[in-house]
Amino acid sequence: MRGIIELTQVNKVYHGAVDSQVLFDINLSFEAGTCNAIMGVSGSGKTTLLNIMGTLDFPNRGDVLIDGKLVNNMTKNQLARLRNETIGFVFQFHHLLPEFTALENVLMPHLINRWRPSREVIRRADELFDMLEIAEVKHSLATKMSGGQQQRTAIARALINNPKIILTDEPTGNLDSGTTDKICQGFREINRRYGTTFIVVTHNHLVAKHTDRIVEMRDGRIISDTKSDV
């Protein structure tokens, strides 16, 4: 079965005073509707791999297929549209726009290619706010929310366009264990309800144990790929 993300012989070298190769011949495929973790110590290449899967970075060699489309030769605008429609991002730092309310932030990916939000998308936003238990801060500015609320708003934002893939990089890096657990349960709930594929980069075993599969990396190579027993 073809994966929703397929990486073939992906290599990445950062050129500088001294060239540094961070990914070596990565072959990896993720099935649609699964929840996956990529683990590894700092500098193992996991974030670079995630950025390449998110079309924010590009391999020097190798092919990247997202939802069946080869992204290697896409233009910047085509990549922007692909990201907007197919991929949602959740980063360690929420990166909410402080000038906008939680609801406006959540609707933003939808409004990138549209004039105004449809009723359906507003209903979806409400549903996400309820599911992530942040309905009470819907009309608050991002700066008036707690760290957990901000991160959950960022998750709702990543989901608003109903993307097939959610890529997250240390989504709970700044949160306490209680909030971390809540967010992980939120991921699972979304995964179950919408069939969204999750790829979570983390070094936190508590997060990884919520996933179906753990890919472990070291020095730019995959050293293990195991199914977990969630």
Binding site: K76, N77, A80, N84, L97, E99, P109, I112, R116
Partner: protein, 384 residues
Amino acid sequence: MLAFKIAVRFLTHGRTQSILILVGIAIAISIQIFVGLLIDSLQRTIVDRTIGNSPHITISSSTDVSTIRRWQQIVYEVEHTKQVKALSPSATGNAFVEKENSNLPVLVRGFPFSAANQIYNISNAIYDGKEYSSRREVLIGRELREELELDVGDKIVLSIPRGGTVTLTVSGFYDLGVASINKAWLFTYLETAQELFDFGDRVTSIEMTVEDVFQADTIAGQLKQQLDNNDIVIENWKDQNPELLSGLEGQRISSAIIQIVIIASVVIAIASVLAISVLQKSPEIGILKAMGINDFNASLIFLYEGFLLGLVGSLAGLVLGIGLLYIFVFFTTNPDGTTLIDLYLDYSFIVRSWLIALTASTMAGVIPARKSLKLNPIDVIREG
């Protein structure tokens, strides 16, 4: 639409910064508008007071004979020239007014009153008595009146150079605001002057004003071609006042330089504020790009910011600049209470200035917009 909404929110959220730059733009544009309109008003006042009540183009004889032949034909042709506003034939000659033991030299100027009035605005200049209404009546200037100690209804005796004297009755007194004219010119009927100087039915000049005084030389050139008459010479005020013109031109250039410097400073101020804004907002721009906003729309945010700052700032500047001008005109008066300069609001200049300010402000957004194009979401996300 999203780019516009984000631009508005960026500006309203960083309110202090936006207000400061808006005040800066408004002050700069107000000075630009103030200087531009002031210089324009000043120039128009100077021109108006210098040539406003005098002919802009004069046709006279180029031959040894001072009078013009077939002048009616010339008047007919000139009357049908579009740009000519008012036109009057004139019979003018030198004479002397007798005063006790001496004679004062004067210039007798014969005009059809209504025609001459459109050029010299004599009706408004009459401060005592009335216009001439019979062939033996004459209007006298303020300085000459004082010299001769005359009143309305008094008689003056004119000595004509070819011999003989004529007695005329004073119908009134004028003040054209120019002492040399007030002292020397006598206004009377055209026919009276023709008779005094033995011109027959001829005239010595045809005088006219035109709609746009600065086009006087061009119109004079057109008339020369149109009339194609070697017996006449056509002169215009611009050729007769080169010093005035060069003074006006100097003013115009200095005003233009001041305005250009102001606009340049507005552009630099907006560009630098927006360039800082790109740095401040790079996390937001980075995440928007990660979410799928394309480079063009991301850069539009900064163009809209420049446009909005320019729009609000320049409108405030316009109001402030015009207000300043009114205050200036109100508080700067001559000793007699009249305004030092006449206020002219050149609407085309105002609209033009506003459009330039708006375009320049929007263009000031181009530098930060280009900067935002280069923003890579990964760098932003990595830095947090």
